[in-house]
Symmetry: C3
Subunit: 123 residues, 3 copies
């Protein structure tokens, strides 16, 4: 916890550097003061099969899901999604000729049912 999943349509690559976007997102979360830095676990999925509406071309999207343990206030979740959207927007280069939608959702993880285990590098 927290988990970030970045999805982006293939027509945003190669201009979009997934590693750079993930770093921007993780820094935004680390800077929020809500999490321990090593706990932030992020992944990016490039979408090579996608469809926006019913138009075959000219559209793209990048979407971020933030999953965090339940219990944070609506205000904190709103601040986190805004911070992630800002980071995503800055890290996504402009693309002429494409309608691009950027979005961020926040999901609560059921705290009581969350189980975890950590193994240090020396273990």
């Amino acid at each position: 916890m927290p988990h970030i999943t970045l999805e982006y349509t293939q027509n945003l690559a190669p201009e979009l550097d997934a590693g750079e976007v993930l770093m921007s997102l993780n820094r935004a979360l680390a800077g929020s003061g809500q999490f321990q830095e090593p706990d932030i676990k992020s992944r990016a999925l490039v979408l090579d099969r996608f469809l926006v509406g019913t138009a075959p071309e000219g559209r793209a999207f990048a979407h971020v899901k933030l999953a965090l343990l339940s219990g944070r206030s609506a205000a904190v979740k709103r601040e986190l999604s805004e911070a992630l959207l800002t980071a995503l927007s800055r890290a996504c280069p402009p693309r002429a000729g494409l309608d691009v939608q950027l979005s961020v959702e926040v999901v609560d993880l059921d705290r009581d049912a969350y189980a975890k285990e950590s193994r240090g590098a020396g273990s």
Copy 2:
């Protein structure tokens, strides 16, 4: 919003045409009258590592997740899932020799924490 994620096991390919299924799903949503056509953002993931139960072979599945902003009634969500299942079923060709499970889930997105930005093709 809304977001669709189609997952299907690799043994349904190549008969299953992901682009065709996505178009069927998006048309079903667009035809529901609940959404603006350009807002429907869909992706397909082919699953090359999967396991149904504990049987090594002979089973397949295709699963659709519809994520939409919270606030719609249970009846509307039920109608949407039924419409998506119908579209999925029609778009999935029959496969002799395989037990195939088709399913649709509907997830509410936390409306207060959802953030988005649109960039037009000319911007």
Copy 3:
């Protein structure tokens, strides 16, 4: 229902055998007595673009999401997540030099909006 999604970072491969982990997870669920064996639908996604915190290297994670129809008690969900974490931990070989985080989340599927269809191998 239920659905399992296993995600693991690429630096855990090739020691981590996704097929073996899925079998362990599915057996754990089948052994819980909560599900019919053929209903357990699992997939594994290897994450080749990931970032843990803001450190470029030396960290890894494997994460399991269990999605099941709403209505089960918190105690049952806790037992299931513990059983899956145990199975995941046993199936993940030790990796010297890596900080590895293992985690399991449980998500309720909206029962009223869940739609499904089964096609037998002979149909």
